[in-house]
Amino acid sequence: MAQNSSAKESIKEMKRLKNEPLLLIAILAIIAFICLFVVYPVIKVVVFPSLTDYAKLFNNQRWFTALKNSLLMTLISTISCTALAFLFAYVNNRLDVPCKGLFRFASLLPIVSPPFIVALSYILLFGVQGIITKQLFGIHIDIYGRTGLWIVQTITFFPYAYSVINGVMQAISTNLEYAAYNMGATRWQVFRNVFWPLCRPGVAGGALVAAINVLTDFGNPMMIGGDMALLPTEAYMQISGWYDMNTASVLAVALLIPALVLFVVKNFWVGKRSYVTVTGKETSLEPYPIPKFIKWLLFGITMFFTIFILLVYGTLVYGAFTKAWGYDWSLTLKNVQYVFLKGNQIRNSIVYGLIASLGASLLSMILAYIVQKKQVGVNKLLDFFAILPGAIPGMFLGIGYVMAFNSQPLELTGTAAIMILALMFWNIPTCYNSATAGLQQIGNSVEDAALNLGANSFRSFKDVIIPLLKAPFLSSFVLSFLRSVTCLSVVIFLYSPSTTVGTISVMVLVQSGQWGEAAAFTTILIAIAFTVLRITQGILKKQGIDLKL
């Protein structure tokens, strides 16, 4: 019955769209685009191997181990990421300690950096030529493999969990804790019965975000995984070493399934379970003081990790200006010059990032606008399409593009177009979320008011929605740009000699042990990312808007 009437509703609304041909065209175009550039490549990969190929996943010892390793690494890294993120969020929100700004800075850095940077620095610090291991202590330890990767993944991805947990913790009024103290609860009871239950949805959400990132990460395992087999790296080996598309597809699908599960749990289960309501009206009291001993202990631990993160970045910059890491510590500009020689790749990074982000934020904006403001029956489908790419690991998308666009009529292999398209669709969920958040702030009736005064859909979009969306548009554009410039997993399968980008060069340099050049490359990528971020923040600040990452 409900099904029936909602179907009727949809049909009626589709009929109404006849009055708004522009909207109808936009909807159809978006659906076509996403089917072609997201759904089709995914299907291509899934149906490529035969059933017997899939069976090999369980027969072939190495691949089965890769599956196990991937899941195990995800599990332990998620636990450590979440714990560390909780600590940082707790210190930030509930402790009266100095250096909070520094802590926040440290937890932002990894988000705006290429994902493999921690691995690279870790090698520079503790590797065979490591400044700490070789230079300081003269010892040699094997850092490649499980433990090294675990540490690196924790540092790299805890900031993602942090931003979720911190958001939730910020919204919990300290008044609630005071209310519990007031009723006679002890500190521990307040934490256990009030604070923790309210944090739980945030912790679950943060953990899932971290898990998805760790599971699908490609850069860190590539650099520091050693000979430990993991799904993303193994799939890459199959393609780059053996041109074995069959096996690569099987491994990619094996990765897609847990990623999908995590994605579904995050979006449809945890998403609906937050009790925290942000009213913004009540004024919270200062956090209740906790015993000095515990306070400074937590501060110490946080400081330790903060220093470690700063060390990671410091090492990188130092490495960029060092003659020969491990042998000759004198300073030099030759690494930077090398990067400028390869200026083409940096230029590619920037150009592809700009175009892809422009496309992604424009498309997402229109998509979010239609979903939020236009009551058309296909809204649910469009919303699903918009967040769908978020469920697909970057390398899966890469492999999909390789398979889907290697023949006429859409032969894109080796072109810049394929890199840009892949980055663009990979970024759509990020941009879409940011656009949706922005749109939700604009009351529905503002647009109705424009229509009411005689503006048609197009005019009201142009006169009212677009000006109000400038800020969310810019922030989604910047986010997307940061992600594109620092992305490795998507493009690693798609580049050709003329379309190489910065991140790929870094990986190649690391593999051939050219640490200095790799560090210089990475430093310049981060510098670009930070510059763009600061410029946008500056523009938005003039309009009185804070850009949040």
Binding site: M1, A2, S5, S6, E9, K12, R16, N19, E20, Q375, G443, S445, V446, D448, A449, A450, L451, N452, L453, G454, A455, N456, S457, R459, S460, D463, V464, P467, L468
Partner: protein, 363 residues
Amino acid sequence: MKYFIEFRNVVKKFGDFTALDHISLGIPKGNFVTLLGPSGCGKTTLMRQLAGFSEPDEGDVFVNGKRMNGLPPYKRNTPLVFQEYALFPHMTVYENISYGLRLKKLPKSDVDQKVRQMLKMFNLEGLEDRFPRQMSGGQQQRVAFARALVMDQEVLLLDEPLSNLDAKLRVEVRTELRQLQQRFGITAMYVTHDQDEALSMSDIIAVMQHGKIEQVGTPWEIYFRPVNRFVADFVGTVNFLTAKVAGRDNNILRVEHNGHILRIYSDVPAAVGEMITLVVRPECIRIAREDEGIPDHACIRGSIKSYSFLGRMIRYWIQVGNDEFIIDDNDIDLNGARSGSVNLYLDTRKIHILRDGGAHADS
């Protein structure tokens, strides 16, 4: 009669929920009609059907004889003042007010002249370069009025436009608004759930409940001749008395309540033996002084349960048979409130009779 705005059998469903259930309502030109009803009864939804923000599932909407169904909102010429103002946050006051005119591609000088006129009328001169966030709620609200009125349309829709104002300002604005509407001969449709607003401003009131119109009528009809207990109860304070018709002498109906005969002036053709409801407004009843002799046929007995002292009067809650009465007593005795059993004196000419079988209010 020829209506200027007309709804014919309008049905609107959200999934399985019926928000508007066969609504028919006609509004003559130049009238001020108020939709009155509790929260969630469908007032906004009905108005949205007229403005074109959503389409009815069944039925038709007419303006000036022209069928509006399917017409997009921007072609309907039905300016609306939104409950939450909905001013464009990125436009100044001047830009907000002139937006609709600019869309019509009116010459700049005409636009300017009309906007100036509005600024003057709404006391907004000097504020034209401010942004909405730089103004008080009352000022923003006046901009919202100006933006709708400047369009010079024959129709004006207002969805609880005063709900964000304080009580005093609200009374001022509603008087002004009514004068404006009459001066320009605008056909206005107004939404509120405030009965005072409805009674004081309207030519016609439509009382709604659960997506249906319960009664349409002038404020007098609605207040003194409600068609059922819901309408009577929603518009003003009211007491209900269940009684049985005992007989009729010309225009006087004899009814029995609690074994006691009351004589009520009424033309209602109630049959002898029928159970009815008497609608007794607080102003139709008072507590008799202790020594006062009152005619038997206008008297009922009750006992005071509680009271609250309000300064110029005392409000009593009085048990009468199975019912509880609310009575406002202006004739305050300096010695304090009354207590115990009292006689109540009914003004039997103002009492309204409902032929509802004496049913209880919560239907």
